[in-house]
Symmetry: C2
Subunit: 354 residues, 2 copies
């Protein structure tokens, strides 16, 4: 029995049918198992399938309505510390729901992002998940709104993960962190430890939504405890280690007093710690430091970094769940996930005034 393997061409139902001496319909039925087929026939078909090592063509199947649907996951890049856990959540939930997960990166290019959404629309993605914040122009927002409607019209769904809603009437599933609340908690904690002069490092451009929310929490905590935010202790910067390092050095050089630092992210905090150590200051005895994000690195820093834990994996999981079952969760299409403090070794009581 020589397998008639026309190399290069993959076998089709017809090939299997020909070998088994049945019709294509019967092969399909044996494979699907949703229709009575005589045992002997089934045997012949199965043997032919094995002989040819046949697998169905998912595209053809999808065309006719069967086959697994896909979920698209669009993100800046894969190397950021945030991605891993969100991605894990998204992938796991996607698989659990019997869907396939398509991953694309846009490297921070907003146009590329829009292009990818379009591409995923062609791919018939059942949900298109956008992760992480970014600067948003009016034109970008408008196009995004348009795409959200286009997706909605075809039974698909735009999902915003960790970024704020686009607008009121825009059909989209939004899952955010409570950035403001976490910053409030972190700052309040420092205040409760007796700190009064708390610097914030990484307050970049206010247009960036995440930055703004975290700064707002910092400011609200001050107000809630009857304190003023001192402009000299509000330092700009980007979301990287180098920025944390440089800004902290600048702060130290300026002579402005401070006993605690609230870093806008853990990565920034690692730069802050480095600068403090270099200046001979002890953490937390001389200066307390608190971060934000609770990336894996945070636990491995010395001293262990106190920070605000973000439920990354849950974010991804929730996003997919809500989007795919939006009929059952019609009212939950905008969710804000809670955050909580993780206290490690980098925070302690404020030193006594000298």
């Amino acid at each position: 029995m020589v397998a008639r393997l026309s190399s290069g061409d993959r076998p089709t139902v017809k090939d299997v049918a020909a070998i088994a001496g049945v019709s294509a319909t019967t092969v399909s039925r044996v494979l699907a198992g949703n229709y009575p087929v005589a045992a002997t026939t089934r045997g012949r078909v199965m043997r032919a399938v094995q002989q040819l090592d046949y697998v169905a063509n998912a595209q053809a199947r999808a065309l006719v309505g069967g086959g697994p649907r896909t979920v698209a996951f669009i993100i800046r890049d894969l190397v950021g510390p945030l991605f891993a856990y969100i991605g894990q959540g998204v992938e796991q939930q996607t698989t659990a729901e019997g869907r396939l997960c398509l991953v694309c990166t846009h490297n921070g290019d907003p146009d590329r992002e829009l292009e990818l959404i379009e591409l995923m629309r062609e791919q018939q993605a059942e949900a298109v998940v956008l992760v992480g914040g970014g600067v948003r122009t009016a034109a970008h927002l408008e196009r995004m709104t348009q795409l959200a409607h286009a997706l909605d019209r075809t039974g698909s769904r735009l999902v915003l993960c960790g970024r704020p809603p686009i607008g009121a009437d825009v059909p989209a599933t939004v899952v955010e962190y409570d950035n403001e609340g976490g910053a409030f908690a972190a700052t309040s904690y420092l205040i409760s430890l007796g700190h009064r002069d708390i610097a914030i490092v990484g307050r970049g451009e206010p247009a960036h939504t995440t930055t703004k929310a975290r700064f707002d929490g910092y400011a609200r905590a001050h107000k809630a405890h009857g304190l003023e935010v001192a402009e000299q202790r509000v330092l700009p910067g980007t979301y990287d280690r180098e920025s944390g390092y440089q800004q902290t050095k600048a702060l130290l050089d300026s002579g402005v007093p401070f006993t605690a630092v609230f870093a806008i992210t853990d990565v920034v905090a690692s730069g802050v710690l480095f600068a403090l150590r270099e200046a001979g200051l002890r953490v937390p005895e001389d200066v307390s430091v608190i971060g934000y994000d609770d990336i894996p690195l945070a636990a491995d820093l010395v001293p262990g970094l106190s920070t605000v834990h973000l439920p990354h994996e849950e974010l991804g999981r929730t996003a997919i769940r809500l989007a795919l079952h939006r009929d059952q969760h019609a009212l939950d299409q905008h969710v804000v996930l809670g955050t909580h403090l993780v206290i490690r070794e980098s925070t302690g009581p404020a030193p006594h005034k000298q």
Copy 2:
């Protein structure tokens, strides 16, 4: 002009054609731009496309031979420190080659891995990339061989990333790290610093190929310098921080002398560092520590961890490139990527004998 949008159904070429008053063929041609179409006709079609917000159905397109192909990326999970950079390389190269990237995880279950390969075969994946090592049984290997052939027969390709080849005649693209060479270099470096009593932490089960290669490099470096490997300084363990910590404590308790530690991975090294610090030993003055992998964490540890850099991103990129252009790289289908030492602060001259 009311758009006849039967909500729920996505528009097809026919719908566009009807609105534009042309045939489906013409719509296809306008969109593809590969056939002369009168300017006025093109205008009408484009207007209809915009009106309906039409996008082509990628599945139907794929069925007839067009559309983007996909590459499947199968990995244990997304949270390990290794994934990010390999994934980045794979995704970037995949996109650069105009393909889409499908990501799946198997959580260490070998059967699930095989199942996923099968699934990707249905998806007509142009390449199926398997990342990372794992224990391999004979049955698993055999099935893998079978799948490699099945993929090959249909013009697809099995790609092994950072794991050893399956067998000689198995059609697969293999891209590995030179694990043995890196371990040799790391150990040799320690020896050149004057260390003679070098412990290795994390020498787990010898069946694990990565572990074995790294241990072999460690052993060969000893032999090359006329040294003996002392069994008491060879410590077992798994690939996690806790294991590094526990094994180092055990080593310290045992009283066996050592001036340097070669940790099987950076994560293990972080546990080693912690145990040493706890014991009041200074790194590198009292004990030198070297890791393996060069994960991002390595630079942020205190002291900065000397380690063996693995070209993760290049691994992913190379794998895709070789697999997709295997006609041009027919002889390069098994590549071993070089590694290099990264010297940071955790290594220094051996302390003077007392």
